[in-house]
């Protein structure tokens, strides 16, 4: 990101980063060739982010679908380790995240540090759920007959997440980690005005053990990317919470589009305000993107 630098004899000009999309484990520019200007909370230029298109969104779904069976097929223990590793890498990038969060959200360094710490801790919390959720949400069912009968949660498949508009890292982590826990793959539309932490998170994911395609990050106009993802027939579920506060988009419109193939929809909480992400997390965000499968088998000799 751009620090304020003044050309002066002997001063070093910083090397800036080009922020791109993250799709299928790679960092492509938008196929549309478009970018948009990202400013800090005071309106100063930070970077040009990729202005993702509908086609980018479709590509991201293809990548997420391709990665889904493998991610869901990993053992829960393995997914837990892979996700925990992400937290380790997040910790290593603290300074960069703090700077981006402070600039984008207009927070003091101290508050930005608190948000980054909470985001790392949040990731650790979810990483620990992978091999516990089936025990908490599953059941052995005492049917009235000679049958073995068991219910367990499974991932629903490809999940689209419209990330919160305000909380650009803590909010982001709080919405993308939960679907990953059980083996869903994710296409996330980042905060429109504050996309930089999402792209930096992509860089963390790219250097972690998370397979390519498990998380795909789109930047751009939420109102442009949300509707085609909500109506996409190869998407199983959508978290529409981030439509709150997005320009030109109502979460109800996304939910209505999602009905076309009976997607699971996670709505924003009653009151239509972005949640306070510092509140204690709850496994309901994990369970919102699961399906309960019940298996029967006769008992006998």
């Amino acid at each position: 990101m751009a620090a304020q630098s003044i050309a002066a004899p002997g001063a070093r000009l910083e090397v800036r980063k080009t922020y791109k999309l993250f799709v299928g484990g790679k960092f492509p520019r938008s196929e549309s060739g478009r970018t948009y200007e990202v400013a800090d909370a005071k309106g100063r230029f930070l970077a040009n982010a990729a202005l993702g298109s509908r086609k980018d969104a479709r590509e991201a779904v293809v990548a997420a679908r391709a990665a889904q069976a493998g991610w869901a097929g990993a053992t829960a223990y393995n997914r837990g380790q892979v996700l925990y590793r992400v937290a380790e890498l997040l910790e290593g990038r603290r300074e960069q995240f703090v700077a981006e969060v402070a600039a984008g959200e207009g927070l003091s360094t101290r508050k930005a540090e608190a948000a980054v710490s909470a985001a790392v801790d949040r990731w650790v919390w979810y990483a620990g759920w992978t091999d516990k959720v089936a025990q908490v949400a599953g059941s052995a069912n005492p049917v009235a007959g000679p049958y073995f009968n068991i219910s367990a949660p499974e991932p629903t498949g490809v999940v689209v997440v419209i990330a919160p508009q305000t909380s650009s890292l803590l909010g982001l982590v709080s919405v993308i980690a939960p679907p990953l826990v059980t083996g869903n793959t994710v296409v996330v539309v980042s905060s429109e005005a504050r996309p930089l932490p999402a792209i930096t998170l992509s860089e963390v994911l790219a250097t972690s053990d998370v397979p390519g395609g498990v998380v795909n990050v789109l930047t751009g106009r939420t109102a442009e990317l949300g509707p085609p993802l909500a109506s996409h027939l190869d998407v199983n579920a959508i978290d529409v919470g981030g439509a709150l506060g997005a320009d030109g988009l109502a979460w109800g419109d996304l939910e209505a589009a999602a009905a076309e193939n009976v997607k699971r929809v996670l709505r924003p909480p009653v009151g239509d305000r972005e949640p306070d992400w510092t509140e204690a997390p709850h496994p309901r965000r994990i369970l919102a993107f699961t399906e309960t499968k019940t298996v029967w088998h006769p008992k006998g000799v």
Partner: protein, 482 residues
């Protein structure tokens, strides 16, 4: 008559007293519809008109929702769970006491064999109330946080294939959790729900806790669209389910949908063949195949396909199709002329698209709605009979070579309600079960239902679960300690 034919064994209908007309059950009383409109319900096995039933208008729905709201706020919501439990236990007991009456009425109104309504529908409905009764005072320990709360008023719309059982699936968890109910039974099968209202009188359930509004599509739409319902539970077709999902979009109404299916019933070459044949028959001919989780696509491993189809045909030759009131009947009447037309259309498409059609010799009654058990071989995955829900006694047979191919074919459908696996190999069952995208997987059995066992679909078969602890979740707002 050959010595091996069955003598008629008709169940008596004397036990049930059908009124010539029924009103709407609102706030504990039967009342006519606001504009006096009504519709007829017929016995699909004979086309005899059974009764005239009030058709609820928007105004009636309004009255029912108001009654439910009042009862929820003043009485049912604040009532201790232990008291609600006792009402539900009463209902379970009364259903068991009047089981024969309900079974006979169900068969008359629906057309299903008395053997099924007597042995499956009614006892399972009673068991469902008994199961959820016990939850009513244990909700703090159900895993939904301390002191979980009811939503308020539940609007419930149920189908005609299991009228009383679907009523039980809907009403029991709603009442156990402190919600009150406005229920709309299906247009062609309203009678057991109205008899259930009489049972509620005996149970002395307070007025307004359960309201029953009979009617057709417009009544259902008015109920689902009513701004003062908090929770919608719908069982029915996928198109209607999608419409409901679109209608509630952007609101905070909670919805569960139990929609269509096109289940694969997968038979491997090492399957216990006699059991598999019985499972296949039960999977698709139970309730005339009018079952959302019916095993309507038979996937047979190629090496045993020929033998299995031959044995299946000879088994189908022994099915007794006819009078649903006969205790020996296996396959009864199709529920309505409309449904019969749908089955006919799709099976005609099967023939037109090149599949081979076969039915056993069987004489169908001259009046009523009937369809002979039907088997299609030479079916490809692209045929309509392999893709669309027929909801009738029609089985499409496809083949596969490897377990992976079976999984791919089984999952190649927008639906995901149920699946069946037949093999002696345990590790293969578990491998398959992990990969099948279906909410219920029956291995070496099919079409088993139990109040403790969660039921519901993946993908376009809907969302939410009914039955078991999971079945409480759609009716509760999670409690929180902070």
């Amino acid at each position: 008559m050959s010595p091996f034919e069955y003598a008629p064994a008709p169940e008596s209908r004397a036990i049930v007293d059908i009124a010539s007309s029924y009103g709407l059950f609102i706030d504990g009383e039967f009342t006519p519809s606001s504009d006096g409109s009504s519709f007829k319900t017929v016995n699909p096995a004979t086309e005899e008109v059974l009764a005239e039933v009030a058709e609820a208008t928007d105004e009636d729905v309004e009255r029912a929702v108001k009654a439910a709201r009042r009862a929820q706020q003043k009485l049912w919501g604040p009532m201790p769970g232990s008291e609600r439990a006792k009402y539900l236990f009463r209902i379970a007991r009364l259903l068991a006491e009047r089981a024969r009456e309900f079974a006979v009425l169900e068969t008359l109104d629906n057309g299903k064999p008395i053997r099924e309504s007597r042995d499956v529908d009614v006892p399972t409905a009673a068991a469902h109330f008994f199961y959820y009764a016990g939850w009513a005072d244990k909700l703090d320990h159900a895993g939904f946080g301390p002191s979980p709360r009811p939503h308020g008023v539940a609007a419930q719309v149920i189908p005609w294939n299991f009228p009383l059982l679907m009523l039980a699936w809907k009403i029991a968890p709603a009442l156990a959790t402190g919600n009150t109910v406005v229920l709309k039974p299906a247009e062609t099968t309203p009678l057991t729900a109205l008899l259930f209202a009489d049972l509620l009188r005996q149970a002395e359930l307070p007025p307004g806790v359960v309201n029953i509004v009979t009617g057709a599509r417009a009544t259902g739409a008015a109920l689902v669209g009513h701004p003062d319902v908090d929770k919608i539970a719908f069982t029915g077709s996928t198109p209607v389910g999608k419409r409901i999902a679109r209608e509630v979009a952007g609101t905070h109404k909670h919805v569960t949908l139990e929609l269509g299916g096109k289940a694969a019933n997968i038979v491997f070459d090492d399957a216990p063949i006699d059991q598999a044949i019985e499972g296949i028959v039960n999977g698709i001919f139970f309730n005339q195949g009018q079952v959302c989780c019916a095993g309507s696509r038979l996937l047979v491993q190629e090496s045993v396909a020929e033998e299995l189809v031959e044995r299946l045909k000879s088994r189908l030759g022994t099915l007794r199709v006819g009078d649903p009131m006969d205790k020996n009947t296996d396959v009864g009447a199709i529920n309505s002329a409309q449904q019969l037309a749908r089955i006919t259309e799709l099976t005609d498409a099967g023939t037109a698209e090149g599949a081979t059609r076969w039915s056993p010799e069987c004489e169908l009654p001259s009046s009523g709605y009937w369809f002979a058990p039907t088997l299609f071989t030479g079916v490809s995955a692209a045929h309509r009979i392999a893709r669309e829900e027929i909801f009738g006694p029609v089985l499409s047979v496809l083949t596969f070579r490897t377990p992976q191919e079976a999984v791919t074919k089984a999952n190649a459908t927008p639906y995901g309600l149920s699946a069946g696996i037949w093999t002696e190999k345990g590790s293969r069952i578990l491998w398959m079960a992990d990969r099948l995208r279906a909410g219920v997987v029956w291995s070496n059995t099919f079409n088993r239902f139990d109040p403790t066992s969660p039921f519901g679909g993946y993908k376009e078969s809907g969302y939410g679960r009914e039955g078991g602890r999971h079945g409480l979740a759609p009716y509760l707002i999670e409690g929180s300690s902070f």
